[in-house]
Subunit: 690 residues, 2 copies
C-alpha cells in the first residue's frame, strides 16, 4: 500500500558513507573497539577509516586520532564503542564535527533503566539533525559498500536482502546461518534500543535503495505502533514478530523493556500496512529469497519432477496454499511428452521420471519458461544414483538465464550433501531453492501475496469528525463524573454519528411508553438506570412485547419490583427497542497501548463467544480496509447468506467507518449485537465508555 | 492402543537372516544385480552371501551359483533382481528351496498393469508360507545385521528408526538426507507394490524388535485400509501420508495405482489406531528422533537459553503446542540465580545470557535434570563469538549421560556451520537437536502425545447387531426395489436400533393425524411420499403446528395443492414430529472405499454447512472412541453449553454406537438434525439409503 508519508530522516551516512570513524578503536583484540575496526578494515571498505582513541597513534595500520575533532576530513559515520558514561560527551563532539550518522554500539542505557543518558543523546541528535542507530547494538553491515561496522562475523555473502534485527545476539547467530545457507545480505542493521532510527526509517530509506529488494525485520516489540503503521511500503517487508502468545509477549516485554501489545492487533497492523508476517526464520528468509524473482503474471503453475512422491506432496501444498496448478491434460501431453520416457506422466505434476537427467530437465524447463500459458514454475528433484544434482541445478540456472528470468521459478531438491550443494548453487544464482517442497510452495505463494498487496486498491481513511452536539453530550457526561453512558445516550450518539439503530424510544412514564411504542412492535423493553448494570438480574428486561397492554403490565411490574431488588437504584424510565431479525455481528472500538484506537469486527453468537473469531484494524481506515476487515474473519461466509438470512455488507462497512468518528472521544465502544439484514445493519445495543 | 490382533507373518528371514541369495547378481556395475550384491558385501553383512547367476562362477569375490537349488546351505532371504518375465519361475524355485523371505526388486508388475504375474507370485508365497516385499522396490536395509540389501547408497548411519517407504525414489533421496542430518536408521524398507508384506506386517514385526524404537512410514495410499487400522501398535508409529488435498489424492492415485480415500478418513483412522500423523519429512524425522528419549513424567518444562529472542520464540511455540512452562518465580530464582550473571533472567525461560559458556550451561542443565519439579528440558543456544557450540553440546550430552537420561531433553541451536556440527554431535548422542525452536518444541510435544496415546483407555467396540425385525424390514424394502427409505420407515428403524426420536406419528388421514397428534404439540407436519424428495418445494412441510384445527387446515391444503404441483406423486399421508429445541448435531454413516463403513459427527447449522467442521471414525468403535470423536470437532465447546443450551453427550455417544448396528445393512445414513438437550438426543430426521 503506497502512503503519502514523506520520508525525511537522512541515513546517507550509513548507506552511502565515504568515511567512518571508530570511536573507542582499540589494538586489544578482546575489545569491541578492536573487533569493529578490524571488521571495517577486513570487510574491504574503500572509504576513509579513522580509528579514534586518546592513547594510540596507529591501530591496525591506520593512523589514529585523539578525538573526532582531530580528524582532518569530514566524517560521514561515527561508530561509538566507548563505555556508556562517555557517550553523551562524544555525541556532542560528533555534533560539533557535523557527523550526521552515528552507530552507538555501547550498552548500558534504557535497557538497564538508564533513560536519562539515552534521552540526552536523542536530544543532541535532534538538535543537530543527526540520525543514530542504537544504543546497545551489534552494529550494521552494508555489503554494496563492503562496510562491516559490526562486531559480528566477518564472512557474509552479499545479496539484496536487508535484515533488520531488534536482537543483536540473534543477528550474530543468523549471520552464520545465512552464510551456511548461501543466503546473501545487502544489509544487516541491529536496532537495539531504537532511541532514534527505527524500522520505519530503515524501510523508507531502503525504498529508494536499488541494492535492496526486500526488508526482513525481526521484531520483539514496538515503541510506537502508530508510527510504524504509517511506514511507506514500496518493497516487500517481511516481519517476524515474536511474542505471539500471551506468555511469549510477557517474556518479550521482560526481555526488551518494550511494551508488547496484543498480537491480534499487530497482525491487523501488518495486514493494514501491507507487511508480510512470517512465523519462523525459515519462512522469513525463505520468503525473502523469493523476491529475487520477477512477480508472477498469472496463476497457472507447472510442477516438473523426477519423482511421483514429491510431486504429490507439492500438489498437496499447492492446494493448501491456493496455488493453481495448470490443468489442461491435452496441452501438457502435447508439450511435455517429448521430455520423458513412455512411463512418465504429462499430467501436471509433469513427472519426467527418476531416470531423467540434465537433458530431460532442460527440455521440460525450457518449455515451462517459454510457454506463455504457464506463469510459474516449480522444479522438484529427488536425488538419484544416476544423476548429479549439481548438473541439474546448473541446467536449471542456465535455462532460466537464457529466457531472461521472465517468470518466477522455485526449486526443491530432496537428498543428501550433493543436493545441498546444488541448492546452494541455485541460491547463489538467485533461484530460490529449498530442501522441502512446502518451503518452495510457500516462497511462490508469497510472490502472489505481495503482488496482490501491490495491486490492491488504496484505502482512504475518512476525515469525518463526530458532530459538535455529540462532543458536547460526551463532555457533559464526563463533567457529571459518569463514564459508562446510559443506553439511550449511547443509542442517540450512534444515530448522530451515522450508525442506524432499530426504532427505539426512551420513555419516563407508562403513557409516554405506550404513545412512543406505536409502529414499533414487537419490541424489547429495558429499565433505564445509571445504577443497574445487569438488568436481567432484577427483571429489568422484557422481550417480544406485542401491544400496549403488555407494555402497561411489564412497565408497572418493573417499577414495582425492581426497587425491591435494587432499593438504591435511580429508575429513569424504560428503553424500548424494536425487535430485529438478521445476522448477529459485533463491532467494538478500544484503545491499544501500542497502536491507539482500534476497531474490532466479528460475528455474534458462537463465533465470538466460543470461537473468538474476531479481527481488528487500526483507526483510521476507510471503506476498502473495512471490507478487508470483514473478509478476514473465519466465519465470513455466514455474511454472504445462511439459511435465508444475508448480511448487508455495505451498511456494516459504513458502520465500521462511522464509529471511528468517536475515536478521539471515547475509551471503549461495544456494539453487540449489530443486526444485519436485507434492509441494513442496526446497532441494537451499544455500550460506550468515555 | 493395544489391540488383540495376533501377528503371524514370519519376517525373520529379513531381519534375522543368516544367509542371503542375490538372484540376478551381476559383475556389471551398471546392473542392479551388481549394486545389490555389492551393497550386501560392502555393508559388512556377516552371514553367507550367495550370488545367483547362470553364467558366472564368481562375482565380487563370492562363489556364484546357477540357481538357488544349487546353493549347498539354507537360504533365509532371496533378493530377486532378474527381469519380470522370469520372476514367477524363480519364486517357484525359491519355494522349492524353502526360502521363506524374498525381496522382489524387479518392477514391471501391477504398477504397469501386469496384475496376473503379481497374483501368481502372491499365490506361490501363500501356498508355501513365504513372505515377500515388493515387487518394484529399492530393497531394504537392517543396520543391526549390517545388511544393505538395496541398490541405494552405501553410507548410512545406524540408529533405531525404522523407515518404511512406499516410494523407492524418495527412500533413496532420504537416505542421503538422513546421513547429512546425522539421523540413524535401524531399518529402511521399500514397500513398492505391497503385493504381500505391508505396513501392518512390518509394524507388528518391529513391535518385538528391540533394535527399533519407532516406525516412520511414508504412505501414498493403502490397499486395505481396514487391515491397516487393525495393526497392533506397541511402539510409536509416525505416518507421513501424502495426497491430503483433493488434487494431491488424484495425483497419488495416478502415481501409485492405489486408491486414495478421503483424507479426513485416513486422519480418523490414524487417530483411532494411535498412529502419529506428520505433515512433512522434517516433522516426521524430527519426531522420530525424539523417541530416543524417555517419556516425560509430568508437564513442567524448563527452557534454558543464552538469548532472549529465541527464548521468546520458544515460549510462543510452547504455548501454541500446549506445553506447560514451569512458572514458579521464587523457586527458579532460588535454583538458577547462581548459574548466570546479574542481568540474566531466572523467570522461565532461564536466560543465562549471551556470555554463558560451558560452565553456565552445565550448571543450569544439571539443575534442570536433577530437580524432580522439572519434567522436561529445552536447551537453546544462539551462536556467539565467545563460545564454541560444540563445547556446549558436549557439556549437554555429558550432563545428560551423568543423570542417566531420566527425563526428556531437546535442543535448538541457531547459528552457522559450527552450530550445525554441534547439532550433529547431539543427534549422534541421542539428544534430539534442531536448527529451529519450533522443531524442538514439536519434538517434545510428540512425546506428550504418544504418552497420552499409551495411557488412553482402551476402546471396546460394541458387538450388537440390528434387531431381526429391522433386517427384515430392510430386506423387504430392497425387494420392493427401493433404496431411499421413507421418513417414517427411517424413524422406525432408528428407534428399533436404540436411537431416540422426538415423538412422531405417521397418519394416512386427517382424522388419524388429529388423533395421533394429541400430546405432541407443537409439531411439524410433512407430506409422506416416495416420489417427493424436496418436500418444501411443493408446500409439503408445515412447522410449529399448535392445535387440531391447524392440522386440519394444513393437511387438507397439502392434499389439495400438492397433486397440482406433483400430479404423479403417490401421497401416503403425513409424518408429524414434535418440535424439539436443543443443540443441532448431525451424525452420518457411509461406506469409504478404503476403510468400509465410517461414522461422521458434526454440529449442525453453520458448523457443518459453512465450516465443514465434521470428524470421522471407522466402524466398529465403542463409547470411548465415540467420546473422542465428539471431542475432535472444532466447535465442540458448543456442546458444553451455549446460551443456556447444553448437549446431552452421553446420548450422543450412545447414538454414535447404535447407528453402527446398521453398518452391514445400509449404504448411507444421515441423521440431520440430531437435537440434543437436557433430556437426551433425538434423531429428528433420518435419511437412510439401503
Amino acid at each position: 500500500m503506497k502512503k503519502q508519508a514523506v520520508y525525511s530522516k537522512n541515513l546517507e551516512g550509513f548507506f552511502n558513507t565515504k568515511s567512518v570513524a571508530v570511536i573507542g578503536a582499540s589494538a586489544n583484540p578482546s575489545k569491541i573497539g578492536y573487533q569493529i575496526l578490524n571488521n571495517v578494515i577486513a570487510g574491504g571498505f574503500e572509504g576513509a577509516i579513522y580509528p579514534i582513541n586518546p592513547k594510540d597513534d596507529e591501530i591496525l595500520g591506520k593512523k589514529s586520532y585523539k578525538s573526532v575533532s582531530d580528524v582532518p576530513g569530514d566524517i560521514d559515520l561515527a561508530v561509538i564503542t566507548i563505555p556508556a558514561p562517555f557517550v553523551v560527551a562524544t555525541m556532542e563532539e560528533c555534533a560539533k564535527k557535523k557527523v550526521k550518522n552515528v552507530a552507538i554500539i555501547t550498552s548500558g542505557f534504557a535497557e538497564v533503566g538508564n533513560h536519562a543518558d539515552e534521552e540526552k543523546i536523542k536530544k543532541i541528535a535532534d538538535e543537530n539533525k543527526m540520525a543514530f542507530i542504537g544504543p546497545n547494538i551489534l552494529g550494521f553491515l552494508y555489503t554494496p559498500l563492503k562496510l562491516n561496522a559490526s562486531f559480528g562475523p566477518q564472512d557474509i555473502l552479499s545479496g539484496k536482502i536487508a535484515f533488520v534485527s531488534q536482537s543483536g545476539a540473534l543477528a550474530i547467530a543468523l549471520m552464520g546461518w545465512t552464510v551456511m545457507e548461501s543466503i546473501g545480505l545487502g544489509s544487516l542493521v541491529s536496532l537495539g534500543n531504537k532511541a532514534d532510527v527505527d524500522e520505519k526509517d530503515l524501510i523508507e530509506h531502503f525504498n529508494n535503495d536499488d541494492n535492496i529488494d526486500v526488508v526482513l525485520i525481526y521484531m520483539e516489540g514496538l515503541k510506537d505502533g502508530r508510527k510504524f503503521l504509517n511506514t511507506e511500503i514500496k518493497k516487500p517487508v517481511i516481519v517476524l514478530k515474536v511474542g505471539r502468545s500471551q506468555r511469549g509477549a510477557k517474556a518479550a516485554a521482560s526481555h526488551t523493556g518494550s511494551l508488547a501489545g496484543a498480537d491480534g492487533i499487530f497482525d491487523a497492523a501488518f495486514k493494514q500496512m501491507g507487511a508480510l508476517r512470517a512465523s519462523s526464520f525459515t519462512d522469513a528468509f525463505g520468503w525473502a529469497r523469493a523476491f529475487a524473482l520477477p512477480l508472477p503474471q498469472g496463476e497457472e503453475t507447472i510442477v516438473i519432477t523426477n519423482g511421483g512422491g514429491i510431486g504429490v506432496s507439492t500438489t498437496d501444498a499447492c492446494e493448501e496454499a491456493g496455488i493453481q496448478l495448470l490443468e489442461d491434460v491435452a496441452w501438457t501431453e502435447e508439450k511435455f511428452r517429448k521430455t520423458m520416457p513412455d512411463f512418465g506422466s504429462t499430467k501436471n505434476p509433469i513427472d519426467i521420471t527418476g531416470g531423467a537427467g540434465v537433458e530431460g530437465y532442460r527440455k521440460a524447463i525450457r518449455i515451462s519458461l517459454e510457454e506463455d500459458k504457464i506463469h510459474c514454475v516449480i522444479v522438484l528433484y529427488c536425488e538419484t544414483a544416476v544423476t548429479d544434482p549439481l548438473d541439474i541445478a546448473k541446467a536449471v540456472a542456465e535455462e532460466y538465464r537464457t529466457v531472461e528470468r521472465n517468470k518466477p521459478i522455485v526449486a526443491a531438491f530432496v537428498g543428501g550433501e550433493r543436493s545441498r550443494s546444488a541448492l546452494h548453487f541455485l541460491s547463489q544464482n538467485n533461484i530460490p531453492a529449498y530442501d522441502s517442497v512446502d518451503q518452495a510452495v510457500s516462497a511462490l505463494k508469497i510472490l502472489h501475496t505481495w503482488k496482490d498487496i501491490c495491486n490492491r486498491p488504496k484505502d482512504v481513511p475518512g476525515q469525518e469528525k463526530a458532530p459538535q452536539e455529540v462532543v458536547d453530550m460526551i463532555n457533559k457526561i464526563k463533567k457529571e463524573g459518569r463514564s459508562l453512558l446510559l443506553e439511550h445516550e449511547a443509542r442517540e450518539i450512534m444515530e448522530k454519528c451515522g450508525v442506524p439503530t432499530p426504532k427505539w424510544a426512551f420513555a419516563r412514564t407508562v403513557e409516554e411508553a405506550i404513545e412512543k411504542a406505536e409502529g414499533m412492535y414487537p419490541l424489547a423493553m429495558k429499565i433505564a438506570s445509571p445504577d443497574i448494570i445487569h438488568k436481567t438480574d432484577v427483571g429489568g428486561v422484557a422481550l417480544n412485547i406485542s401491544d400496549a397492554e403488555e407494555i402497561r403490565v411489564k412497565f408497572n411490574s418493573m417499577m414495582t419490583n425492581i426497587p425491591k431488588l435494587a432499593p438504591n437504584a435511580q429508575l429513569l424510565g424504560v428503553n424500548m427497542i424494536q425487535m430485529t431479525k438478521g445476522i448477529e455481528c459485533i463491532i467494538g472500538m478500544s484503545i491499544d497501548p501500542q497502536f491507539g484506537p482500534v476497531v474490532m469486527f466479528g460475528l455474534g453468537g458462537v463465533f465470538v463467544e466460543l470461537m473468538k473469531d474476531v479481527s481488528f484494524r487500526v483507526v483510521p481506515f476507510g471503506k476498502i480496509e473495512a471490507e478487508r476487515l470483514i473478509a478476514s474473519i473465519k466465519g465470513q461466509k455466514v455474511l454472504n447468506g445462511f439459511r435465508g438470512m444475508k448480511a448487508h455488507k455495505e451498511s456494516i462497512i459504513q458502520t465500521l467507518c462511522s464509529v471511528q468518528k468517536l475515536a478521539p472521544l471515547v475509551k471503549e465502544i461495544d456494539i453487540n449485537p449489530l443486526i444485519s439484514n436485507d434492509e441494513g445493519s442496526f446497532a441494537v445495543d451499544a455500550r460506550i465508555i468515555v
